[in-house]
């Protein structure tokens, strides 16, 4: 018996000793992903009347749109544990008459160490944007969600002033994202100017003198952004909070003041519910916080959003309220007041299959003191705009 025991113990011992350790290295993979979206919209906008547009009749209320993006995703891991990869995104863009031109969206590469953090380089979103915490939403519902694609811009070219901190407009930049320490992480990014892509010539430059390095090129230069974020849970409540900030210089020769923008956001989630909000403020105007300087004499801008979502199985529902303010300034000696845009929306998303969603939502927008497209810039032309948008559609991701 003793011999049996000894022998069998030796077998188990040999089994213990003989094990190898798996390799950490991963050969690179290349994937193609993307999405396709179809949306039908019903729009009721008091700026769509013949009297305002100058058209012989009011605009139609119904329209359809399709959208898509193709991503090439490269991922790999070296034997020393360093992850690396790149992403190339091709999108439908509306910069030609057919609305179907394809250009690049984000184009960037990265290296990531398990202990030192991640370095991204290329045309990607800024650190302030990547680490931001914003009001929760469901697909195509939000302060600048699906509704704005269906409406006409106002005279300044914006459809909405309700947004999160700007994403850096994919200007070519470098981004450092730190490891997470006890739930906290931070990031910084830098872009020397606002341009993206491979060419150092400005778009439409007639000669080599017009480089993007010129101190007077573009609308902002030396864009620095950063954020600090916390994620954790207390009891059964998940908490995410972040503070994001960015600043930039205006080009030499500009009379505008250097822009900056700040965003604070908080999300709480438990039992399928997520509630949260964000507040953005800073020295800027227009729709994208901090993408251009602010004229002297104009007040700083701000906007905020509160949102809630609930998810039960394949169905998600959400609602939000959003309010934003921009200073119109003095026009022809008369104060045109503040533009105040308010949006409230409710919506639902049904996940038919993983990667295939059907969404429907309704948004009401009340835009005060806004000037219709084409109207002369006199204070009398600033008026209130009221919009209702209902959208129904599907998005497919692979």
């Amino acid at each position: 018996m003793r011999k049996i025991l000894l022998g069998t113990t030796a077998v188990v011992g040999a089994a213990l000793m003989g094990m190898g350790v798996a390799q950490a290295q991963t050969a690179p993979t290349v994937r193609v992903g993307g999405y396709f979206e179809f949306t039908g919209g019903y729009v009721d906008d008091n700026f769509d009347t013949a009297a305002i547009t100058g058209l012989p009749a009011s605009r139609s209320k119904v329209d359809f749109r399709s959208d898509m993006e193709i991503s090439v995703i490269v991922r790999g891991k070296a034997a020393n544990g360093l992850s690396y990869g790149a992403e190339i995104e091709l999108q439908l863009d509306n910069n030609n008459t057919s609305q179907t031109a394809i250009d690049t969206d984000e184009v960037w590469g990265f290296v990531s160490s398990p202990t030192l953090g991640t370095l991204q380089f290329g045309d990607n979103d800024s650190a302030a944007d990547q680490l931001k915490v914003a009001a929760p939403g469901v697909t195509n519902l939000g302060e600048s969600g699906g509704w704005d694609e269906f409406i006409a811009p106002e005279a300044g070219g914006t459809r909405y002033i309700l947004t999160t901190i700007n994403d850096g407009s994919d200007s070519t930049k470098i981004i450092y994202l730190s490891p997470q320490f006890f739930g906290f992480d931070f990031g910084v990014s830098y872009a020397p100017n606002q341009y993206e892509g491979e060419n150092f010539l400005q778009p439409a430059a007639a000669n080599n003198a017009a480089l993007q390095r010129n101190p007077n090129a573009g609308s902002i230069r030396n864009e620095l952004s950063g954020a600090i974020r916390y994620r954790g849970s207390f009891g059964n409540v998940g908490v995410a909070a972040a503070f994001s900030a960015m600043r930039a210089d205006v080009p030499t020769g500009s009379t505008l003041r250097d822009p900056n923008a700040y965003q604070a956001g908080l999300n709480l989630s438990a039992m399928g519910f997520t509630v949260g909000g964000h507040y953005i403020w800073g020295r800027y105007s227009g729709s994208a916080p901090g993408r251009g300087g602010l004229a002297a004499g104009l007040d700083n801008s701000n906007n905020w959003t509160l949102g809630a979502t609930y998810r039960a199985g394949a169905i998600s529902v959400g609602a939000f309220y959003s309010l934003g303010k921009r200073d119109n300034g003095v026009v022809g000696g008369v104060d045109a007041g503040d533009r105040e845009q308010q949006a409230v929306g409710v919506g639902a998303v049904y996940t038919v299959a993983p990667g295939l969603e059907v969404f429907a939502n309704y948004t009401n927008i009340e835009d005060e003191n806004v000037r219709p497209f084409g109207a002369a810039n006199v204070a009398a032309n600033y008026r209130n705009r009221s919009i209702d948008v209902f959208i129904l559609g599907t998005r497919l991701a692979f």
Binding site: M1, I4, G7, T8, A10, V11, V12, A14, A15, G18, M19, G20, A22, A24, T26, A27, P28, T29, V30, R31, V32, G33, G34, Y35, D67, E69, I73, G76, K77, E89, D105, F110, S112, S113, P114, T118, D125, D129, Q130, L131, V133, A134, T139, N140, L177, P179, Q180, F181, F182, G183, D185, T351, A353, P354, G355, E357, R395, L396, A397, F398
Partner: protein, 181 residues
């Protein structure tokens, strides 16, 4: 002297505790842990199951997901299968069928005891990674005169080997989760 030694032990303990606390709470977030305004990222799940269609390379994530749920190119749980292979690899292998989940070793004599030999058969019973998903049968023979004679194996040995396989499977799963980060 004793106090110094005590203090050293205390200090080392504190350092070790601090290191382990740091180790559990410091990590580099995955790329999908950052805020994304991409329309593709707002959609839950992906058609086809994986994030994009694989053009080039080996799909590790699919293997990992598949190992939990059943596996793609393998009929039984991949972690248990690998673990059984690793555990019994000290013996020469006679037959391995990853689809049926049967692993049969050849006879093996422990070093220093040529008059005794073992043979093991491992059965992976399902696609799930669970503790009753593996069964090991162990056979033992002794050389008496010129002939090998069957002798009984102590009752606990087979289940000890099963425990080894399970522990190894657990380790492999932890490694693959860590590698995917």
């Amino acid at each position: 002297m004793r106090l110094t030694r005590l203090m050293m032990v205390g200090l080392t303990g504190t350092l070790l505790a601090a290191c382990s606390a740091l180790q559990g709470n410091v990590r580099t977030p995955e790329l999908d842990e950052y805020s994304s305004d991409r329309r593709r990222d707002q959609v839950r799940g992906r058609l086809g199951g994986s994030d994009g269609i694989l053009l080039f390379g080996t799909d590790r994530s699919q293997q990992r997901g598949g190992a939990d749920q059943g596996g793609v190119g393998i009929g039984v749980n991949a972690f248990l299968w690998r673990a059984a292979l690793d555990t019994l690899s000290f013996m020469p292998l006679s037959s391995a069928d990853p689809f049926g989940g049967v692993l049969i070793t050849d006879w093996y004599s422990p070093p220093g005891n040529p008059s005794e030999r073992f043979r093991a058969t491992a059965y992976i019973l399902g696609r799930q990674l669970r503790s009753d998903g593996v069964r090991v049968a162990l056979f033992r023979q002794e050389l008496r005169g010129n002939a090998w004679v069957d002798v009984p194996v102590s009752a606990g040995t087979a289940s000890e080997l099963e425990d080894q396989v399970l522990a190894r499977a657990r380790e492999l799963r932890a490694q693959s989760t860590a590698a995917a980060r």
